[in-house]
């Protein structure tokens, strides 16, 4: 049995799954139930000055019958009184001392306010702090949240204020609403943060109601940009995570990965690209705390299959395989192959290749079933046919190298090799 336990800056949890700062972590009732279900830790929903929420708050993107492929919210930080939150945090720590308790913070823009809040939170016995530099709505208009995270100088300054006071580990949560997360990430590390987490939600409009003509979510005839999350944002999050893992400054601190994690596979991918722990929210908002069981069992079985005994054995393992485009091997060439025994004659590969790629699939007419085959010398190995094929392993990509040696684009140009003649 693989050991799933995580150690993030000394914050220990029996597994790497934390609940992200969000509605599921805003009160003792939820958090205790999450811990009973088996969650490794929580990041308590952001504490700060008093706010008031609106109704409605969420909207989603559905795709081909799947609901909440993407999800957005216009909810603000915790709208519960600070003293109640602090009392409940302390109680949760007391009842579940083996679970990670990190508290998300967003103080008003002054050193004193941050120091005051940190002192109050540390009194609860919480294990760590997460600085919310990412909230994309509501708080930004007041110069908080993403407004801090989007400006590296402000981020550095606020981290410095925090580090003057904090005695427990500090994680800075970055906003994705920037052209690159690296400048803010570096500034935060230079300011002294102990760790980073990302991504917060992405500014979004999930859609427009075609009856009312008002975008979602609807609030009395109006809407605002919301924060986008859920499975749809995972690829964006993975890319941003990887840029932190590759950077010599930001890679010095551990990272907690966030963004569309719904399954153990998602978690493994985040960890392979450098996350020490992962945070989950949308999947729980859709399915409840019970998903923790398969998150743990699936990861454990995969680790056993791969021979990984601890999560440290694979954290960051895929980072070196992300390279620059110009270093890719041009001599590597693959062509598609259709297994006629598995083919169900749907024609999806044919029409995709015909209309959108390189016209390299042959259609032999049949009534009612056509037969499809690859025209190998026209196939560029783009993967499109394999991606659209509804049958697993029906289309496989077979390696047919163009040359034995490694050849990259710079070398290709240096040798003056010819471009395609079609």
């Amino acid at each position: 049995m693989a050991d799933l336990s995580a150690n993030f800056l000394g914050i220990k949890s029996p597994n790497p799954y934390w609940l992200a700062s969000a509605p599921p972590t805003d009160k003792q009732y939820n958090v205790l139930r999450a811990f009973e279900a088996g969650w490794g830790g929580v990041v308590w929903k952001t504490l700060g000055s008093q706010i008031k929420n609106v109704s409605s708050r969420y909207s989603s993107v559905n795709y081909n019958g799947n609901r909440m492929m993407g999800f957005n919210n216009i909810e603000l930080i915790s709208d519960r009184p600070l003293d109640i939150n602090l009392r409940e945090i302390a109680e949760c720590v007391r009842l579940f001392p083996d679970r990670a308790m990190v508290v998300s913070l967003m103080a008003d823009n002054s050193r004193e306010k941050w120091h005051e809040l940190i002192a109050q939170v540390e009194d609860t016995g919480a294990h760590g702090l997460e600085l919310n530099f990412g909230c994309p709505h509501g708080m930004t208009e007041r110069g908080m949240g993403a407004a801090v995270g989007q400006d590296p100088d402000i981020a550095r300054m606020v981290v410095e204020w925090v580090m003057e006071k904090a005695t427990i580990p500090v994680i800075t949560k970055l906003t994705p609403n920037v052209h690159s997360v690296v400048p803010s990430g570096r500034a935060s590390v230079e300011g002294g943060t102990n760790g980073l987490s990302l991504i917060n939600t992405i500014q979004s409009i999930t859609g427009v109601d075609l009856d009312t003509l008002v975008p979602n979510p609807y609030v009395a005839g109006k809407s605002v940009f919301g924060g986008y999350c859920g499975p749809a944002v995972k690829p964006v999050a993975l890319k941003m995570l990887t840029t932190l893992s590759q950077d010599p400054v930001t890679s010095r601190v551990p990272i907690s990965g966030i963004g569309g994690i719904s399954t153990w596979k998602d978690a493994a991918e985040f960890m392979l690209l450098g996350a020490t722990t992962v945070q989950v929210c949308t999947a729980v908002m859709k399915h409840g705390f019970r998903i923790i069981e398969d998150l743990c069992e699936g990861l454990s079985n995969w680790m056993d299959d791969k021979g990984f005994q601890t999560t440290d054995d694979f954290i960051g393992k895929s980072v070196p395989t992300i390279t620059h485009w110009e270093d890719l091997d041009i001599n590597y060439h693959i062509v598609a192959h259709i297994n006629p025994d598995k083919c169900i004659r749907c024609g999806l590969c044919y029409i995709a290749c015909e209309d959108a790629s390189h016209q390299s699939i042959n259609l032999a007419y049949g009534k009612p079933y056509n037969t499809y085959s690859i025209i190998e010398d026209k196939c560029v190995g783009c993967n499109l046919c394999k991606l659209v094929c509804p049958v697993d392993n029906c289309i496989t990509m077979v390696e047919q190298r163009k040359g034995d040696d490694y050849l990259n684009w710079k070398e290709f140009q240096r040798r003056g090799l010819p471009l395609n003649d079609h």
Binding site: N64, G65, I344, R345, C346, G347, L348, Y350, I351, L363, K367, P368, Y369, N370, P390, V391
Partner: protein
Amino acid sequence: MAIVNNRLTAEQYEANFSDIHPPFETRNAALVEANRCLFCYDAPCVKSCPTSIDIPKFIRQITTDNLKGSAHTIFSANIMGGGCSKVCPVEKLCEGSCVYTLMDEPPIPIAKLQRLSTEKAIAEKWPLFQRKPSQNKNVAVVGAGPAGLSCAHTLSREGIDVTVFEKESKGGGLMTYGIAAYKVTPQFCEDEVNFITSLGGIVIQYNQELGKTVSLSDLQQNYDAVYLSVGVGLARQLDIPGENLRGVEDAIRFIYDIRTSGFPSIPVGDRVAVIGLGMTAIDAATQAKRLGASEVTIIYRRTQDEMPCTEVELDLAKLDGCRIVWLAAPQEIVGQNGQVTQLICNRMRLGEPDASGRRSPVETGETITLDVDMVIKAAGQMPFEELVSINQLENRKGKITIDGACSTNLNGVFAGGDCVNGGKEVVDAVQAGKDGAKAILAFLK
């Protein structure tokens, strides 16, 4: 034993004749299935539909909440797409070739999805088509069945004025008069006909029968072209002793009566034998059972491998409690006091393949005797040979001969549907009507 009507309570009749293929109850239920559709290219289901409905397109339109577009896609190819969604033997057509079957997965319920769009369109009377301006041309269509209505609609869309002559008092042909009531209700058939004629430019004259109240020569004189879609109608006779006894009925008449009178008024025997195993035989056998017959036995001279009905239909009969006697051919119907009491059948075995490629039944010399009080003949329908011959129409045993352009030997007289092919599915007749209309449009130019 006796043939009597009014065997069941009102509730029993209602339950027995309720819709056998209920529609999706909710939009969500339909979307689960619609979203399974892979949106195949050059899709096998389309190629397996005689009218070539663009099935992937209409299903995709359901998923995008474009139900009007979906109905338009269906009706553009098949104006009886509503009725076809209820009566087509889809297991051997579109659904039978769905690519999911190659994965041994259930096919997309195409008929049920088609029903969703078309029923809504018909119920809400969506004006999906517009006529082109009138071309001042008149065409007479004989027979308001699927072929005739399909031809009339196609012509009218192109601005041709159409008069349809129908011998019955309602349109729809076999859809209205010849199909089991639990598949399609008389009310739906009427709504479907009204939906088709709502386009305008189509006038149906009811109770007008070719050779009786209308003559072909008059039609030729008064119209720019004539389309014959008179169907088939006469039940094939068994030509065995006892065929005239009381209690011997032909399936077409039996089903016609069920369709035109209330269920309680239809008399049925205690022990019923049905001769034949086509779709009509199944419709007769199941409905005899559903009218309250205690025993229904289907007699078929070949085996399950050669049967003309589909497996689905056979299962339907079996689930209704009908018994099948394979390899038996009727030899004599025995009676007492003019009323059927027994059916004597020859035991058959399979011999060499015949012209249809199916192995021919050969008598073994053994017989079996069934005690029955009613015999329903469903051994096929005969074309109107006399009507066709009197009008000097070239024909093969009553089936009108047409050329590649749907034209008969008479100039300006076209034909299609069952009266040409001897009897196929509704969907085949709809396509025949489209083909006929195309030929007539070319002729009128």
